[in-house]
């Protein structure tokens, strides 16, 4: 309090003097003295600080000169009074949080703190005392993360698949799709929507393919896709959405397209808890595509989740919300193995299949190997690697050998030190060696010279 009172005395003296006449006191000193005086009078604490120039200098004169009129526009005290935004907020009736007297008294003597208390941030503003829940800024790689969020890069190929079963189902799926397109006389390569690749509920689609899609091999070696269900072909074709059309979602396409509202309704239906059945119209639309001429693009509804399922066979239907976590991927493997012998000699078919497979699996097949791929078996061999041969140790541990009472299996080489440790002598040996200043571990030459304990 002593310094405050002294400054208070200076302040009172300063206020008596006319600023234009006598000794100059800089703004900072004036501000400090004013604040000291303020603190001594707690009653005035809740008022906004009048530390700006307008509190000491008559700004009215200058404003008149600048604007060149007796009544300059703007507020009377543009610097001292709260800003226009705050005024408007007040008018709207939002209550500004008024800092309590207690908070001010306990605050540090910093101008910044006082500024925060005074400036209203909103009705729910409460200053945090810990950093929990606050936005983190400026940590390591923060800048890069911000950049990644702002500029994402999506390549053509999806994330690389590791699982053998997933790769096999991807190849089968690609084959089915391409052959379905071929048999529908449609262009084999479409702009596959990349979003199609990452859908989890694709599992039901795959399950359906696994059960219903079969291949027949002719005498010549040509493959033919045979589907148990007629409308499945339309559905398959429908599930490959061209990229541009998916973005545009154009209303002016003729014929088979549903209007946007209907489509949205369908989507809500499908994405809901219960996997909706394909509406009749969708099925019709999908079926219509078979009859469509090659000129018309297979413009369809993007069906994100599966069609009607054979409810009797699949009890898993009820667990749709998280299919991938529950379902074992072995179930998705195709039932019939004829698809492995499907010929890929036709360049168009080969290209389409390879492109789709690369997109689904994320694995790029090098150019020199592509020429050697003549059927899907060879294609698989380039994608799926044989499992690594197990190590002897793994094998032994898995056997009953490990369980035998007189057998020990060690990860590392069994050394004399291990032996000594088992017996219990090692500690003593180590201590004795240390006493003599000799190394406990080392090469044979050193150890043989060490005195035997």
């Amino acid at each position: 309090m002593a310094p405050a009172s002294r400054i208070g005395a200076i302040a009172s003296r300063a206020s008596l003097h006319n600023t234009s006449r006598s000794s100059f006191i800089c703004l900072k000193c004036r501000f400090l003295s004013y604040r000291a005086a303020q603190k001594s009078n707690s009653s005035t604490n809740h008022l906004p600080s009048r530390r700006h120039a307008s509190s000491f200098i008559n700004t009215e004169k200058w404003r008149k000169k600048i604007w060149g009129s007796e009544n300059p526009p703007g507020q009377e005290d543009p610097y001292g009074a709260p800003g226009a935004l705050d005024q408007r907020r007040r008018e709207r009736g939002v209550e500004d949080p008024e800092p309590s007297a207690k908070e001010i008294e306990t605050s540090v003597e910093d101008p910044d703190d006082v500024e925060e208390d005074i400036t209203p941030r909103g009705p729910h503003y409460k200053r945090a005392t810990t950093w929990e829940g606050l936005e983190r800024v400026g940590y390591r790689n923060w800048g890069k993360e911000q950049f990644d969020e702002e500029y994402p890069f999506e390549g053509f190929m999806g994330p690389k698949l590791e699982s053998r079963e997933k790769i096999i189902t991807a190849v089968h799926r690609a084959l089915v799709e391409v052959f379905a397109l071929k048999q529908a006389d449609l262009p084999l390569v479409l702009d596959y929507n990349a979003g199609d690749v990452f859908l989890d509920d694709v599992d039901d689609f795959l399950l359906r393919l696994a059960k219903e899609a079969r291949f027949e091999i002719d005498a010549t070696g040509e493959g033919r896709l045979v589907l148990e269900d007629e409308e499945l072909q339309g559905f398959i074709v429908g599930s490959i959405t061209p990229r541009e059309e998916a973005e545009e979602e154009d209303e002016d396409s003729e014929g088979n397209m549903q209007c946007e509202e209907e489509r949205e309704e369908d989507r809500e239906l499908i994405e809901g808890e219960n996997p909706g059945q394909l509406t009749k119209k969708e099925a019709e639309d999908a079926g219509h595509l078979d009859a469509s001429s090659p000129a018309i693009k297979p413009q369809v509804v993007k069906i994100e989740s599966p069609a009607e399922l054979e409810t009797s066979d699949q009890p898993v239907t009820d667990e749709i919300p998280n299919p991938s976590s529950i379902r074992n991927h072995f179930l998705l493997l195709p039932v019939d193995n004829n698809w492995r012998n499907v010929s890929l000699k036709d360049q168009e078919v080969k290209f389409a299949v390879l492109k789709r497979v690369m997109q689904l699996t994320g694995i790029r097949i090098p150019d020199p190997e592509i020429a050697n791929i003549t059927n899907s078996k060879l294609l698989l061999s380039h994608l799926v690697k044989k499992p690594k041969p197990k190590k002897l140790a793994e094998n032994l541990l898995a056997n009953e050998v490990a369980g035998l009472p007189n057998v020990q299996i060690w990860e590392r080489r069994y050394t004399p030190i291990h032996r000594e440790k088992e017996i219990g002598r090692w500690k003593v040996i180590e201590q004795e060696l240390e006493k003599r200043g000799l190394p406990a571990t080392g090469d044979r030459i050193g150890r043989s010279e060490a005195p035997k304990v």
Binding site: F147, F153, F156, M157, D367
Partner: protein, 263 residues
């Protein structure tokens, strides 16, 4: 009397008929290459190249010769220089008479035997570049490309467009997504022309950002060597550049083969 049969045209002697005519060479099998889009790496189509361009057997000796030849060309002048006795500053006066002194005979004092004299066979600035038969050099080019192709490290892209921003973070993203970056052995991008933003993003700028050099390099088609093709983990090349390189380096491929005409 039997009428005389008319001889065929080729047998009628004409001084302007070439003695040996040329026929097209025997067919060469093709190899397949996929053309991708840049930078998404979407396969666009299959294309074919003759095997004598992209499927040559590996000839390490030819590659070695080519690399050494290029290095010598890039070396520039050897700048070490010494003065020969004729270049030393001094007079040509005979220091002492030929006979009668009882000492060795000496001419001027610039002789290399004397202190302060010239250097007898010292270095002089010279061009260290060597020569190499063009056909072998072209074969080396195509051998290098074939080597890359056979290992699946030659990626043909349709066209490289300039990036939307010269930030090296953006090109790093692309490289890492496509597995072309530092962890995968680094890549050489070859473009037809200089693309300012791409080049700055990869190679950095003077006084500016360091660039994504740890992930690879980008070079113009006219700026690359056999050594560049062999150096990094893979080569990502524009199709038009590849075609142009193969065309420029096909001097050893006979476009027509001589054949004797037997009648």
């Amino acid at each position: 009397m039997a009428t005389e049969a008319q001889l065929p045209e080729s047998q009628i002697y004409n001084p302007f008929t070439p003695a040996i005519s040329r026929r097209p060479p025997p067919p060469v099998p093709d190899v397949l290459a996929t053309v991708y889009s840049f930078p998404e790496m979407e396969p666009l189509r299959f294309t074919h190249y003759p095997a004598n361009q992209l499927h040559l057997p590996l000839r390490r000796d030819i590659l070695h010769r080519a690399v050494v030849y290029e290095a010598s060309c890039h070396r520039g002048m050897r700048t070490a220089n010494t003065k020969y006795r004729t270049e030393i500053h001094g007079s040509n006066r005979k220091i002492r008479p030929q006979k009668g002194m009882g000492k060795a005979r000496l001419g001027d004092k610039k002789s290399p035997m004397l202190r302060g004299g010239g250097v007898a066979f010292g270095p002089h600035p010279r061009d260290m570049s060597t020569k190499m038969p063009r056909k072998i050099y072209d074969l080396a080019w195509r051998t290098a490309l074939s080597y890359r192709y056979r290992r699946g490290e030659l990626i043909v892209v349709q066209k490289v467009e300039d990036l939307k921003m010269e930030d090296s973070w953006w090109i790093e993203k692309i490289l890492q997504h496509n597995h072309w970056g530092n962890e995968d052995g680094r890549s050489l991008l070859v473009t037809r022309r200089v693309m300012p933003k791409l080049f700055e993003a990869m190679n950095g700028s003077k006084g500016g950002q360091p660039g994504a050099g740890r992930h690879g390099r980008v070079k113009e088609e006219s700026d690359i060597d056999v050594k560049d093709l062999l150096e990094l983990g893979r080569v990502v090349i524009e199709k038009r550049s590849l075609d142009s390189i193969l065309k420029d380096h096909s001097s050893d491929l006979n476009m027509t083969v001589p054949s004797a005409v037997y009648t």
